[in-house]
Symmetry: C2
Subunit: 124 residues, 2 copies
DNA sequence: ATCTTTAATGCAATTTTGTCGCATTTGTTA
DNA sequence: TAACAAATGCGACAAAATTGCATTAAAGAT
């Protein structure tokens, strides 16, 4: 199942690169100045996550947000970092701070989803 | 707006105490052997969260899970702890490990939602 | 340049999760 | 026991995300 390049994929990536923060499907759709179906955007985003191009954050509103992964991001943050959701400007960004944790014996961790909520530097 | 005691509230609390882990509305409904409306359970859960009896966790499936808060739990975990979702048995539990983090200057944190996903001790 | 294969898309319907308005019921207190 | 307001049931609704299916269009082969 080889991937193909399509205008939609390029547009989605472009939007996320420009924004420099995590975005939800509907926010992405609003920024793309093309008429692309909702379901298609979801499929593109899911494929990017599968391929490691994006990573998915689930905020405490239950919505999925998507942000560039390391390999496609010029910043040096890794994927196991904290995310910060600002209550004022309602944006989600990747913090440079890594999540450090220990788990009790016999637990193994495959994935993490850590979101801090509060007021960001631009809104304080 | 003083709270009243109702059978529904008692039943919900009882289920959560017995389970000893975080549960979603539908899981709670299944465990309650009474015919209680979905919306009512949601309202009870939300009120409990307002009152600090429960705390709410949003897992990476986007669903809300509810667990007893400190004051009502005999365990000594505090509310700013990691949660662990097991991929095998699909349960969510509160880990004793506290979340420690630092944020960049001028950020203030009001709330956190941290869920680790993997295999729990019972399933490994 | 054209054909072929199959990934990608559009559309509509569906599922899931959670909330809300409103009439009715029921705790609680006087 | 009466009265007030919180709690409930019911139905409708909203938002987020997925899925089936027919159609379109990349990408490699001819």
């Amino acid at each position: 199942m080889k991937r193909r390049n399509t205008p939609t994929k390029e547009a989605v990536l472009e939007v996320l690169k420009t924004a420099g923060k995590a975005m939800s499907q509907d926010a992405i759709e609003q920024e793309i100045h093309m008429d692309i179906n909702r379901a298609t955007i979801y499929r593109v985003l899911n494929r990017f996550c599968e391929d490691g191009v994006l990573h998915r954050i689930v905020a405490d509103d239950g919505k999925q947000y998507f942000a560039l992964s390391d390999k496609n991001d010029n910043n040096k943050v890794s994927d196991n970092h904290f995310h910060f959701k600002c209550l004022a400007c309602d944006t989600i960004e990747c913090l440079p701070n890594k999540v450090s944790f220990t788990v009790p014996n016999a637990y193994s961790v495959a994935h993490m989803n850590c979101v801090l909520t509060g007021i960001c530097k631009d809104c304080s």
